[in-house]
């Protein structure tokens, strides 16, 4: 779960929370960023090429081949590298196909959150004071509440369909984008050249595209990366609770849930997707942190 720190929290404390090592000599580590980006690219490749890479059909059941252990543990050297689950489905193939759900929902909801958040931030910054107050109060209210409870409620009621998941997970992350855009708009708005653009008949879009967005682009990239990690984990958590993409479509969270009953006898069912999920989450969020150090040190407030 991502930490949610209400806006009302004193800025000093938030700044420190965001700074892994204040005043540490900042080492530029672009190769680590490249490693992270490379990992995500690999994951995308796996997701796209799943039909080629997966040794078997991920939803084909085989009652005779139930719960067979991974190759290195099994006595019979069947061709299941990571074993099979309680329905005899090949775990490796399911993990490979599961990356599709994680990535598609992850990227789509980051996109939805980014668009909604940016729009809200622009509206708050350029709009009348009252609109600003309403939007920022909404942001505070959302951060002032464990969003997962709300997400669970909404999805349980509306049904766990793909669009619902994307919108709910996207909505869970709009606030950071809104904040950063609003702040930038407030900086730019009071500048004389913006007034000059208005006076000369320049358009609103011009101000946004030429003077607001370029200044926040790197921050947005950083936020989007961190949000991607959060979205993937949130999707997996919802799937684990039975509120994600429904079976038989394989998803990492759902697979961990499937294997829960068999932890004692067939540990590999839960562990394989779980470890992949964990690595993904750690690598992506670390990449976000490193990107922040490289692209936008101001986000950590130094």
């Amino acid at each position: 779960m991502a930490s949610s720190i209400p806006a009302s929290a004193p800025a000093e404390a938030v700044r420190l929370a965001a700074a892994p090592a204040a005043r540490a000599p900042r080492r530029r580590r672009p190769w680590l960023v490249m490693l992270g980006v490379g990992f995500v690219a690999l994951l995308v490749l796996v997701a796209v090429a799943a039909p080629v890479l997966a040794p078997e059909d991920p939803i084909r059941q085989s009652l005779r081949g139930r719960l067979s252990p991974p190759t290195w543990e099994g006595s019979d050297r069947r061709a299941h590298l990571l074993g099979t689950d309680h329905l005899g489905r090949d775990v490796l193939s399911r993990v490979i196909y599961g990356s599709r759900v994680s990535l598609v929902i992850g990227f789509s909801s980051v996109l939805v959150g980014g668009i909604l958040g940016s729009a809200a931030g622009l509206m708050a910054g350029f709009g009348p004071r009252r609109m600003d107050a309403v939007i920022m109060t909404l942001a505070d209210a959302q951060l002032a509440f464990p969003f997962i409870l709300l997400a669970i409620g909404i999805i349980a009621v509306l049904g766990p369909s793909f669009p619902t998941l994307v919108v709910v997970i996207g909505l869970s992350g709009w606030v950071s984008y809104a904040r950063i855009l609003r702040a930038q708009v407030l900086v730019v708005r009071s500048r004389e050249f913006v007034e000059a653009i208005h006076a000369l008949g320049g358009s609103f879009a011009r101000v946004v595209l030429r003077h607001v967005l370029p200044n926040v682009l790197s921050s947005i990239v950083v936020i989007a990366t961190l949000e991607l990690a959060r979205a993937i984990v949130l999707e997996a958590t919802l799937s684990f609770l039975g509120l994600g993409i429904q079976p038989p479509t394989p998803s990492w969270g759902g697979m961990v849930q499937d294997g829960r009953e068999y932890l004692d006898s067939a540990w590999w069912i839960s562990t394989s997707p779980g470890v992949v999920l964990m690595i993904t989450s750690i690598v992506v969020s670390r990449t976000g942190d490193w990107l922040r150090d490289v692209l936008d040190p101001t986000l950590r407030g130094e």
């Binding site: 779960m1 930490s3 949610s4 720190i5 209400p6 009302s8 929290a9 004193p10 800025a11 000093e12 404390a13 938030v14 420190l16 929370a17 700074a19 892994p20 090592a21 204040a22 005043r23 540490a24 109060t137 909404l138 505070d140 209210a141 002032a144 509440f145 464990p146 969003f147 997962i148 409870l149 709300l150 669970i152 409620g153 909404i154 349980a156 009621v157 509306l158 990690a229 984990v233 997996a236 958590t237 684990f240 609770l241 969270g253 961990v256 829960r260 932890l263 004692d264 540990w267 839960s270 562990t271 779980g274 999920l277 964990m278 989450s281 750690i282 969020s285 670390r286």
Partner: protein, 308 residues
């Protein structure tokens, strides 16, 4: 204390707005989900009976009227009767509250007690192997999915090592794994925060002065460093307690812990709206109150922020 009353008023106002928004969302979502009456009655119930139950529950009123009644009831602490348990929803939730508080407080205390010394030690021994290992673990703790951490703990510490029971509530041994799972994120955050707060302070002029005066190193750490690093630590630590409540839903489900998180999930499946409303509202209330307290503590500790 000039400026403190407006500061207090503003924070209180925000807290009320947040509560109102949460309850409105709850109302809208619950009404979107359809009619609970068929769940209450046998499938062959006569229409007159259905209408009677609808009337009893106030579901035959127009939506705005229902909304006003809903808000009025909330203000009185009346969350309606549980459909599943057939008693007032608040009584049901109250029965589960103790388990959640027990788990949440244990996780929180565990996290703080473990993390602050680790963070401090990491900062003092900066860039040593210990520091790297501790911060590496903290990073994993911060980004690992809570539910999978729980599964890993069950697999390794309960099934393989047989140290703790896998689920349920009982003596302290039942509490260890859920508290570790729930507290992992908080622990990691506090450790990292403590480290950076201490590092920040270690560079301050007054630390150099203290050292130059010949103050003993332990005293420098205890008095000058920790005391000054405490403000951000206290703030974030307090806020973390609020986020724990969200994690409780997942942790309680993994460990079959009989708290309000698991109750909420179960009630959603049962379409037991009054109980869901009540849990969500109480969770929001706790969250908002905690945030308010943290803000106020901060306002007292650091008068500068009252101006801002």
């Amino acid at each position: 204390m000039r400026g403190f009353v407006p500061f207090l008023g503003q924070r209180l106002f925000r807290a009320l707005i947040a509560l109102w928004l949460v309850s409105t969302v709850v109302f809208v979502v619950m009404r979107l989900s359809g009619d609970p009456v068929p769940l209450l009655l046998p499938p062959d119930a006569p229409t007159s009976e259905i209408l009677r139950v609808r009337h009893d529950l106030g579901l035959d009123q127009p939506l705005p009227v229902q909304y006003v009644i809903f808000l009025g009831n909330l203000a009185h602490g009346d969350f309606g009767r549980s459909i599943h348990f057939r008693e007032p929803a608040f009584n049901v939730v109250r029965g589960y509250l103790a388990a959640t508080l027990e788990l949440g407080l244990t996780a929180f205390v565990l996290a703080a007690v473990v993390a602050v010394p680790i963070g401090l030690f990491s900062a003092m021994r900066r860039n040593t192997l210990v520091d790297h290992v501790a911060m590496g673990l903290a990073l994993i703790g911060q980004s690992a999915p809570t539910f999978f951490l729980g599964i890993l703990f069950i697999l390794l510490l309960s099934l393989k090592a047989d140290l703790f029971p896998t689920s349920g509530r009982g003596d302290w041994r039942n509490l260890v794994l859920p508290a570790l799972t729930l507290g992992a994120f908080t622990m990691a955050s506090i450790a990292r925060l403590t480290r950076s707060a201490v590092l920040e302070v270690l560079h301050a002029d007054y630390i150099r002065t203290a050292r130059a005066k010949g103050v003993r190193e332990t005293w420098v750490v205890a008095k000058h460093t920790l005391k000054n690093a405490a403000i951000p630590i206290v703030t974030i630590t307090g806020l973390q307690f609020g986020t724990l409540l969200g994690g409780a839903v997942v942790t309680e489900t993994v460990f079959a812990w009989p708290g309000i998180g698991r109750l909420a999930i179960q009630s959603i499946y049962d379409r037991d709206y009054p109980v869901v409303q009540c849990t969500v509202f109480l969770a929001a209330l706790m969250f908002v109150v905690i945030n308010l307290c943290v803000d106020l503590i901060y306002g007292v500790l650091d008068p500068r922020i009252r101006a801002g």
